[in-house]
């Protein structure tokens, strides 16, 4: 008598929670997700107009922020001389914290601009802001593509994970072969990035041979211009 067939767990669509706030704004419990990729304007105004206004405003207030910090520090120093006021050490700490916060805010401003310019939805607004504010344009030197398209040829279920830190606007990623942890498994070599001329964004192309052993294959993604590492690519091939 034949041995009964051993059962396998079903394949899952995903194996981890969605933590990014952009992706779980749901309309209701069972599916039906509404992503935040298309923010709705509640007053009928075009979104890019709002963004343009926001960007301009952001730059216009940064000096104001610094002045506020200076005033706060000055006021704290005045208070320190009054009876019952904070101990000098705590006062110094507060001032130091305030300065650190402004430093962080500066870094955040740059990061926010990066986010803005990478978003295709927001780009028209950003463009308008730049046109209206040469200073703003000069201050923003980084930006790049984050919209990758995938071309996958495989006869088995395959998960692809690309973790990448975008570089400059002309960034073009490069990946060589992907290797499994098991040395005996042959590497995945039919993997490459190329540029889609229609969208000017990178496309990841991957062929999974039929005989490729199941497992996780990974490799480092580098900037093709500098050869500096900028991310990882991992591919899980199901059995």
């Amino acid at each position: 008598m034949d041995k009964p067939e051993r059962l396998h767990r079903p394949e899952l669509d995903r194996d981890e929670p969605r933590r990014d706030f952009m992706s779980y704004i749901r309309t209701h419990g069972l599916g039906g997700e509404k992503t935040a990729a298309a923010p709705e304007q509640d007053d009928g105004a075009p979104i890019e107009a709002t963004v343009a206004h926001g960007v301009k405003l952001g730059y216009s207030v940064i000096d104001e922020q610094i002045r506020q910090g200076e005033k706060l520090a000055a006021r704290l120093r005045q208070v320190s001389g009054k009876p019952g006021a904070m101990p000098p050490a705590e006062l110094s700490t507060l001032i130091e914290r305030a300065l650190n916060i402004y430093k962080d805010m500066g870094a955040l401003a740059v990061a926010a601009m990066e986010t803005l310019v990478r978003s295709p939805l927001l780009q028209p607004g950003v463009t308008r802001a730049w046109q209206a504010s040469p200073d703003a344009a000069a201050a923003t030197t980084t930006g790049g593509a984050t919209n990758f398209r995938f071309e996958l040829a495989a006869n088995r279920r395959t998960q692809v994970r690309l973790d990448i830190r975008p570089q400059g606007a002309t960034f073009m990623p490069l990946v060589h072969s992907l290797h499994a942890a098991t040395p005996s498994a042959p590497p995945l070599t039919a993997v490459r990035f190329h540029l889609d001329p229609a969208t000017a964004s990178p496309v990841l192309h991957l062929d999974v041979p039929d005989g490729q052993p199941a497992g996780v294959y990974s490799g480092v993604v580098v900037d093709s211009a500098t050869n500096e590492p900028c991310g990882t690519l991992s591919v899980r091939i199901m059995s």
Partner: protein
């Protein structure tokens, strides 16, 4: 998959996660596709939540169990369980879930005052809309922008609203004291458009420093609206306004501290809220794809300190209570607190801003009676088999050399010690009736066991990790006895039962090494005087941040009617906390370790009652000093024979205490940097094995009922693709 017969699922362990998996896999819509058997050590279900009925049918718990108002998954499934159970209220007093739980709107914290006393700090949290387990409404509240908006709104209330005291009996419940938790919907700015909010931001940012209270208040209101409107706003703009507000508030707080000593606690809460707001912006939590998990490598205090919280705030009752609630002391050492910042914030946000009905829900009776007995009855009806007295000893993997090309490793066999045989060969009947409620006893029913009287006389301790006596060994084999395995034992047990996996799998070794647990201790006292007579004049409360070694106390007088005393007590109190591990780990393997821990808890409790409890109950102090031991009610004492009474502290022996040192009973910690070492029930490394428990990577990585239930639902999804992940409330959460 094989289609011609049902799929055999072996679930190891009978705690919250395992029971949940069984409940999901046997839902009627599966049409009997899954044939589930639960293998349980000893005689009762519940795991760390197990309870039993002891002398006088008194309830004896592992510790203090309170369900929080955001336990959406736990409440939802339990409500479904009660609905399916269909108990007749005329027959059983705990017929529905509302009979089993009642709202507890108070949280108590204690603070050591400058005058050398413990001061109680009681907070009232008014009822929130809905009930836990209700369907999640449109526009899920589990978004960081929603949390931030509520935090800012709360901040405004803390800063500028006049303090009002809670009036007992106020049906509206809108007059709470000034602590976080109520939602200041009144006083919000009118609905605003993106344009108008930006315009207001512009004006506020241009008027210079936000020096006036009115300007700060207005700015906070605008921030609330702005945060609710994210992501339609550039992050930086919101950040700029938030930073301006934080700076202005910090300047203003200074006057609080110097001029109004009585409002120091207010400073502490505001300071912590400000630190959170600043941190949320600095660490870009609103846009980080990891959500709050991005800061899980930091300890909560460390992260708040990095973002400007003062040392005083970091050592406030509020923060200490947070650590106490999470038993967050590595190796049980009070000097080594550790709590992953992201999960702590996630928990705090859920606790304060998403509770429904009440912030706390207390159990009317024992956890076993209110939760596990109903589940047991429903699962029995659905055809689930229960194999009690089965201790897992090894999970055997198929040999590597036997695996085919590309074949995933799988569990080949499960080895058990059968601790006792059931007389007559049937299934053990575990429940007893107490006042018409099915309950779990604190000891097994030896009369149902083969040679039971001998086992009882020999003192077999079936639930003890160190009890290795058995009736026989038993091996289950894949395809013959099971198709899938749900490993629902706690992480502390893994090293003893998963030797093959640990030998081969570095991830599992990392999990076992890093996902640490801590022993806990608890005691319960039944007393002859009520709380008012003992000197506690406030409402019944659950209070934390008290002194060690028992930092948490709950007034549990409400369970008295559920017990069966000849002369009922007038009050009942539960205390709990962590229990320090021995300095040398090898002590835990020494003979007598369990007994020595048990005695240590007894000594701790006696010392605590003698030296500390009078801070809460001043009238429990004898005139000569020390605890009034005559307050304790001995269930075996005969009122008609006063001569049988035991005097002095020896009376404590009639009360209940426990040292939870079994590997399966230890509480799972959320230490910084360790949550990434957890493995998800969805992990598919092993072809026929999934895991379940509050120690897994279940989306809410905390030691609690809700995490266990979420994990159990994930394990069911891993096997059956049901429930959908989107249906597990709070799984997709920043």
């Amino acid at each position: 998959m094989r289609r011609d017969e049902s799929i055999k699922v072996a679930i190891i362990g009978g705690g919250c996660a395992s029971i949940t998996t069984a409940f999901e896999l046997t839902r009627p819509h599966h049409r009997g596709k899954y044939q589930v058997t639960i293998y349980q050590v000893g005689w009762r279900l519940g795991g760390k939540g197990a309870s039993g009925r002891g002398p006088a049918s008194r309830i004896e718990e592992h510790g203090l169990h309170i369900w929080l108002g955001y336990y959406e998954n736990a409440f939802r499934l339990l409500r479904e369980c009660y609905a399916e159970l269909g108990r007749d209220p005329a027959v059983c007093p705990i017929a529905g879930w509302r009979d089993a739980f009642f709202p507890e709107p108070h949280i108590g914290l204690t603070e050591w005052s400058r005058s050398g006393n413990w001061l109680e700090w009681l907070a009232y949290f008014p009822p929130a809309d809905g009930l836990p387990g209700d369907p999640v409404a449109l526009n899920s509240p589990f978004t960081l922008r929603s949390y931030l908006a509520r935090t800012v709104a709360m901040l405004r209330l803390l800063l500028f609203h006049t303090r009002t005291r809670y009036a007992p009996g106020d049906p509206a419940g809108n007059t709470g004291p000034d602590l976080p938790g109520w939602l200041p919907e009144q006083g919000e700015p009118p609905p605003a458009t993106v344009k108008t909010v930006i315009a207001t931001m512009t004006r506020l940012l241009r008027i210079g420093v936000l020096s006036s209270a009115a300007a700060i208040s207005e700015a906070l209101g605008v921030l609330t609206v702005a945060l609710r409107s994210l992501p339609a706003f550039p992050e930086r703009l919101v950040g700029n306004l938030m930073e301006a507000v934080v700076s202005a508030i910090r300047g203003r707080l200074e006057s609080f501290v110097t001029e109004q000593d009585g409002l120091c606690y207010k400073w502490e809460v505001i300071d912590l809220v400000l630190a959170f707001l600043v941190g949320a912006v600095r660490f870009r939590l609103m846009t980080d794809p990891r959500g709050l998990s991005a800061i899980d490598q930091y300890d909560s205090r460390e992260w708040l300190r990095m973002n400007g919280a003062s040392e005083r705030s970091l050592n406030s009752a509020f923060v200490r209570g947070l650590y106490d609630l999470a038993m967050a002391y590595e190796d049980g050492d009070p000097t080594r607190p550790g709590l992953a910042a992201g999960q702590a914030l996630r928990g705090s946000m859920r606790l304060f801003f998403t509770y429904r009905g009440a912030i706390f829900w207390k159990l009317r009776s024992g956890m076993g009676d209110c939760v596990f007995a109903p589940y047991y009855e429903v699962l029995k009806r659905r055809g689930v088999r229960f194999e009690f007295f089965h201790r897992l000893t090894d999970v055997k993997l198929a040999p590597v050399e036997s695996l085919g090309f590309g074949e995933c490793p799988y569990v080949e066999a499960l080895e058990f010690d059968v601790q006792a045989e059931i007389a007559g060969g049937g299934e053990y009947q575990p429940l007893v009736d107490v006042k018409r409620v099915p309950c779990w006893p604190s000891t097994p029913d030896f009369s149902q066991l083969v040679d039971g009287e001998r086992l009882r006389q020999e003192g077999w301790r079936f639930e003890s990790h160190w009890e290795r006596r058995r009736s026989r060994a038993r091996t289950l084999r894949v395809t013959e006895d099971f198709d899938f395995v749900v490993l629902g034992v706690s992480v502390g047990v893994i090293p003893f039962v998963c030797r093959d996996i640990l030998e081969r799998d570095a991830r599992w070794r990392s999990m076992v090494a890093n996902v640490k647990t801590v022993a806990t201790q608890a005691f319960q006292v039944w007393m002859t005087e009520d709380m008012a007579a003992l000197g506690w004049t406030e409402a019944p409360v659950t209070l934390s941040a008290f002194t060690k070694p028992f930092d948490t106390w709950a007034d549990m007088g409400h369970v008295i009617p559920e017990e069966n005393w000849r002369s009922p007590p007038r009050s009942v109190a539960y205390f709990c906390n962590v229990l320090a591990d021995p300095a040398a780990p090898s002590d835990a393997d020494a003979p007598g370790y369990e007994a020595s821990c048990h005695d240590e808890v007894r000594r701790n409790a006696i010392d605590f009652l003698n030296r500390q409890v009078h801070h809460l109950w001043p009238n429990a102090l004898a005139w000569s000093g020390g605890f009034r031991w005559d307050l304790l009610l001995d269930p075996d004492e005969s009122p008609s024979d006063p001569g049988s009474a035991v005097a002095g502290e020896r009376r404590f022996s009639s009360q209940y205490w426990t040292a939870n040192v079994n590997p399966s009973d230890r509480y799972v910690l959320m230490l910084p940097g360790t949550l990434r070492c957890r493995i998800s029930p969805l992990d598919n490394t092993y072809d026929n094995l999934t895991i379940a428990g509050d120690w897994t990577d279940c989306g809410y990585n905390a030691g609690c009922v809700e995490a266990a239930v979420m994990s159990g639902r994930l394990a069911a999804h891993a096997i059956s693709l049901w429930p959908p992940l989107e249906d597990i409330t709070g799984y997709d959460h920043p």
